[in-house]
């Protein structure tokens, strides 16, 4: 009973999370005011973090919240605030473009859905059960250390690049 209740709750909560994710995504895309979009993005990303929990990775859920919600969304908010008239600029949408983009992404969605539908998914024959963070860290520093270094390098370059781009353009515009 208890377990049934918990499982039922968990079940319900799962769908709530899915709903949040979906709703956040819609909110992130449709409204023309950029502030709503950021809000929607935050909701959506949090929802995805919740889904990661369901998928069994507490670590990744935390990371999701930290990097996406904590860093990227905040950066976007900063960007919006740094460029004052952004939130005021709400140009009207052209119907043709809406239809066109809806059509294109619709086609794409149908294509992916068809792939999901048509494919028969087989789990791997031997499946490990090692979900520990220690293993992740270990692998990062052994098997994937090259990729890891590269990503770090990319991040470093990106940060320097970002600073340079903004810095230079400021000098150019003044």
């Amino acid at each position: 009973m208890n377990s049934f209740l918990t499982s039922g709750l968990i079940h319900a909560a799962f769908w709530v999370v899915v709903g949040l994710t979906f709703g956040g995504a819609v909110l992130a895309v449709f409204p023309r005011k950029i502030v709503y979009n950021v809000l929607g993005l935050i909701v959506c990303l949090s929802g995805v973090a919740g889904l990661f929990l369901y998928l069994g990775s507490f670590f990744l859920a935390l990371m999701q919240l930290l990097i996406y919600v904590g860093a990227i969304c905040v950066a976007i908010v900063f960007a919006i605030m740094l460029s004052p008239p952004l939130h005021l600029e709400v140009p009207k949408r052209r119907m043709g473009k809406v239809v066109l983009s809806a059509g294109a992404s619709g086609v794409f969605f149908v294509a992916i859905a068809a792939v999901i539908w048509k494919t028969v998914w087989h789990p791997a024959a031997e499946r490990g059960a090692d979900w520990s963070i220690v293993t992740i860290g270990h692998l990062l520093l052994t098997r994937y250390d090259l990729v890891f270094e590269l990503i770090s390098l990319v991040l470093l370059v990106a940060i320097i690049g970002a600073i340079l781009t903004t810095g230079f353009s400021r000098r150019l515009s003044s």
Partner: protein
């Protein structure tokens, strides 16, 4: 170079084939600014050629066999085109004629062309002509002959259009080149026919093989007819005869040298060169005879109504060339060549005399020359009368002998039509030449003297000064020399005949064929009738133009339609004009140009426009914005995935 020194004959022949060319190159590149130097170079080159030619004629006069030198000019697989010299009697005779007249004309030009801005250019072209003509004359093979034949045509084009600022002159040059080119196509195809049917283009071997019937008769006939097209073009035979009168746009010495004495005679020369080959095909000979006759009669009628002094001689040249072709066509090898020789002399004489008149009076119209006082120029007037008598065939001038020879050949033909035509031609020749002479000698309407011919005073002045000036004598001397030649050449009739017919048995046989019957009583009847007809022509001309009170209007005035027909050259030019306008320009050119613009380009441009249009339809997605590009990409990728999944 040792071999040159060891063989003086070769040295002399090479001199003829190179010196004028060198002189042309030197004049064109180095001495265009120095007129007298150019003239000196050119004249000394031609003088050297003349000496060489005389030397060759003298040394080889008894040579039993033709002397031949050959080097391979190009070798392509098994086809070898040689360059070389063939020195036999015919070519030596022609070489001498060309050298003599070219030399005299170049000396004459010193006076005639004095002060012309293009003096050096003139001498360069003269050298080009001399080179091409002499090398053509001593060519041992048909291809070399053809090559220099074309070059002679080039020189003719350049010299006719010498006064290129005059539109009519350049037009005439173009016409001459294109019309002779038309004939030359036939000539070229004929050569190819010989090459394919026989395989050797050597003149001697061709003649020998044709006589020995080693070439299929059909090949001989076909190639002879095709080669004859070249003669038609070059020697202005019917139907390609109209370029020659127009060619009179060139300086008069050029007309004398190229368009009467030598270049146009090249056709006749070429025919006599391969006479045995022609003779092997009776059909070709018949066509030749026919064309010659038609040409001769047509041109004579045209000459009867012309008032331009040079035009008259031009028509007369055509008709005399027609006579030569008739003679050859009738089988009279010697008669044709002999007439060529005498004609070269007296026609050059006539032209050079006319040149003096033209130079003095600055007009080509014989009536105006007469009114201007043409008869006061004693030397040219006398010489011209000598020339006209020779042209009419009056004893004892050179023309008499050669015309008699032709009449003899024609009389030997079983069909007497040809003889009648020939006699008719003789009558007309006498009529039109003396019509000209009398018009100049006895001018009418002296009252209109000043009005009709303004600037007479200037002319008189020029005349007075010219009479004693060096220029006049530079012109007078060659004329007198030619008159002398005309007077005496006829008496070497028999010598020449011996000289030429000693050439080879092949020619001999054909000759017997033609002239064998010419002797005896019939011969004298013929002689008498021809001379009396010529005299009759002169008398007729006297009645209409010479005697006191004569209206100086030809009898043709009374038949305006006929006169118009003659004056318009039987509308041959109109026919060509029509063909050119409607068939060439209006027809093919127009059609092809439209095809190019509309069909081919239209199709291509259409494809391009379709592509561009299609691109534009798509390009509203591609207005430079990433998003529209993305739409297509995404939809495309989606579609591809769907295609593979479903």
């Amino acid at each position: 170079m040792m071999w040159l020194a060891k063989d003086p004959v070769l040295l002399a022949a090479s001199a003829c084939a190179t010196l004028p060319f060198v002189s042309m190159v030197v004049i064109l590149i180095f001495t265009r600014r120095y007129r007298s130097m150019s003239a000196a170079i050119s004249i000394s080159a031609i003088a050297a050629c003349l000496l060489s030619a005389l030397y060759l004629l003298w040394t080889l006069r008894h040579a039993p066999e033709p002397v031949q030198y050959q080097w391979a000019w190009i070798v392509s697989n098994d086809m070898i085109i040689p360059f070389g010299f063939l020195l036999d009697r015919l070519s030596l005779l022609m070489l001498t004629i060309v050298a003599v007249i070219a030399f005299l004309v170049q000396v004459y030009s010193l006076g005639y062309m004095a002060g012309d801005p293009g003096f050096s250019r003139y001498y360069a072209f003269q050298s080009l002509f001399a080179w091409a003509m002499m090398t053509m004359v001593i060519a041992p093979g048909m291809l070399q002959l053809y090559i220099f034949w074309e070059l002679v045509g080039l020189a003719s084009y350049l010299l006719i259009g010498f006064y290129y600022e005059k539109w009519s002159a350049s037009q005439a040059g173009k016409k001459a080149f294109v019309m002779t080119r038309l004939g030359d196509i036939g000539f070229f195809l004929g050569i190819i026919a010989v090459l394919l049917g026989f395989g050797d283009l050597g003149i001697l071997s061709m003649n020998e093989a044709a006589q020995a019937h080693r070439i299929a008769p059909s090949v001989v006939t076909l190639s002879a007819l095709l080669i004859f097209c070249g003669v038609v073009g070059k020697s202005a035979q019917f139907p390609l005869l109209t370029w020659l009168p127009d060619a009179m746009e060139g300086p008069t010495p050029v007309s004398a040298l190229l368009h009467s004495a030598t270049m146009v005679a090249a056709g006749v020369y070429m025919m006599s060169r391969i006479f045995p080959f022609f003779a092997a095909s009776p059909d070709a000979m018949a066509v030749t005879l026919f064309i010659g006759t038609v040409t001769m009669l047509l041109a004579s009628t045209m000459a009867m109504v012309a008032y331009d002094i040079k035009q008259v001689w031009a028509y007369s040249t055509i008709s005399q060339l027609g006579f030569m072709v008739m003679a050859l066509g009738a089988g009279g090898y010697f008669a044709g060549v002999f007439h060529l020789t005498t004609h070269a002399g007296f026609k050059a004489l006539l032209f050079l005399c006319s040149g003096i008149f033209i130079h003095e009076y600055h007009t080509n119209d014989m009536r105006e020359i007469g009114r201007g006082g043409g008869r006061k120029l004693i030397i040219p007037m006398v010489c011209m009368t000598v020339g006209a008598l020779a042209l009419s065939g009056i004893f004892p001038l050179s023309g008499f002998f050669s015309k008699e020879a032709i009449m003899g050949v024609l009389a030997a033909k079983p069909n007497k039509v040809w003889l009648v035509a020939g006699l008719l031609g003789a009558l007309m020749t006498a009529y039109y030449s003396f019509r000209l002479i009398f018009m100049i000698l006895f001018p009418r309407q002296p009252a209109h003297h000043d009005a009709a011919h303004q600037g007479t005073g200037h002319d008189d002045h020029g005349h007075e000064a010219g009479h004693h000036g060096a220029t006049f004598w530079a012109m007078a001397w060659p004329v007198m020399i030619l008159a002398g030649i005309t007077l005496v050449l006829g008496f070497f009739h028999k010598d020449l005949e011996h000289f030429l017919l000693g050439a080879g048995p092949a020619v001999h046989e054909a000759e017997f064929h033609g002239e064998g019957a010419g002797h005896g009583l019939g011969h004298y009847v013929l002689l008498f009738s021809a001379v009396s007809l010529a005299l009759g022509g002169i008398v007729w001309a006297w009645l209409e133009f010479g005697r006191k009170g004569a209206a100086q209007e030809g009898f043709l005035r009374r038949y305006p339609k006929v006169e118009a027909l003659f004056a318009n050259r039987w509308y041959i030019d109109h026919a060509y004009r029509w063909l050119l306008d409607h068939l060439v320009y209006g027809g093919f050119t127009n059609l092809f140009t439209r095809n190019d613009r509309r069909v081919i380009d239209g199709a291509i441009d259409g494809i391009c426009r379709f592509t561009v249009g299609g691109g534009r339809v798509v390009s509203f997605l591609q207005s430079g914005m990433v998003q529209y590009n993305l739409v297509l990409m995404v939809a495309g990728v989606g579609a591809v995935i769907l295609f593979f999944v479903l």
